[in-house]
Assembly symmetry: C3
């Protein structure tokens, strides 16, 4: 049994879903592990990760529309406002989505379903540099 | 250290929670690993997995009532409508619940709490065939 | 490759987020594994785990305010009411947050981001004793 570590750095320029599938697929393909488990972990509390449909980009638009309505910016409910009207909503959106996701690896590939992609979901409006850690164990 | 892979195929005939605990428990019991980590991963973006109460089936009814109200079918907010009024809501429900769950294995069993069951949550109204991948590592 | 198991027992006295980061960090630090993967798993369906900001405690207050509004106690939508007006909402809150989280371990430490803490989220109002299982694999 062996393991590998990696880090994906994603620059973001606004609130939306960023497709990190190619970066994940490439690294897993080069890691030399045929069967095992891949884990993604995001080191932030105002951005998250999500496995979602990668075919019709309208799905990504609608996802954001839903979260924008569910967790409105500048909600008077919130007292943590010093970092801007989109900061506390970003923490709530992160809590409602995923900080870590684990995916089995088969035949040297992350076993994504036909329509699945892996996305970094940036919840802040300003530019950020986001780090996703990857851990792979197997043989 | 050893690992095992498995796949559970679940037929669904409508939007609700399907108890896959027996299938998971049976496979783990036969896998010959006493201590380790079990990971479940669903290869879909309009169905998800959930650990939830397995005692009173009213909990499952109420869970569905809540999600049906939170993410209404046919919401005019959505532009991704070509696959039906329940498709984009299914993607949102998947995002709000889980694509993967990892459970420690102790004494040859997934260490579920007393009232916990493992469910596949079908978010589409039509019949589907759903695949859940299982990965087990340990010794 | 080696693995370790551990259990954190957290007493709760009401609905809020409880910081379990120190207990997790201490155990990982003593486990003698430099690189690997840590998994947390909560054995309950009315309490959950969450990685969230650990700097400004107002974030924790706002998080609770949001969930209290999103999933109101005593909602007439629910039929599972025998265990109290906060029980079914607790199951829904658990479903919307996390039952398990996996975090890579680097240099003998869980690779939390700068502002990340690990919290047990108690969703019931009464006192409870909650169990979080920890699994660590690596070398």
């Amino acid at each position: 049994m062996q393991q590998r570590h990696h880090q994906i750095i994603q620059s973001t320029n606004g609130r939306r879903l960023y497709d990190i599938t190619p970066a994940v697929v490439r690294w897993v393909g080069e890691a030399g592990i045929r069967e095992g488990l891949l884990t993604l972990y995001i080191q932030h509390t105002s951005a998250s990760i999500m496995v979602n449909e990668n075919y019709d980009s309208d799905v990504l638009v609608d996802m954001e529309s839903f979260f924008a309505r569910l967790v409105p910016d500048g909600d008077p409910l919130f007292i943590h406002t010093a970092e801007g009207p989109d900061d506390m909503p970003a923490h709530v959106r992160s809590a409602l989505t995923q900080t870590s996701i684990s995916i089995p690896v088969l035949d040297g590939k992350a076993a994504l379903g036909t329509w699945q992609g892996i996305f970094l979901y940036e919840h802040r409006r300003m530019q950020h540099t986001r780090k996703v850690l990857l851990h792979l164990i197997g043989e």
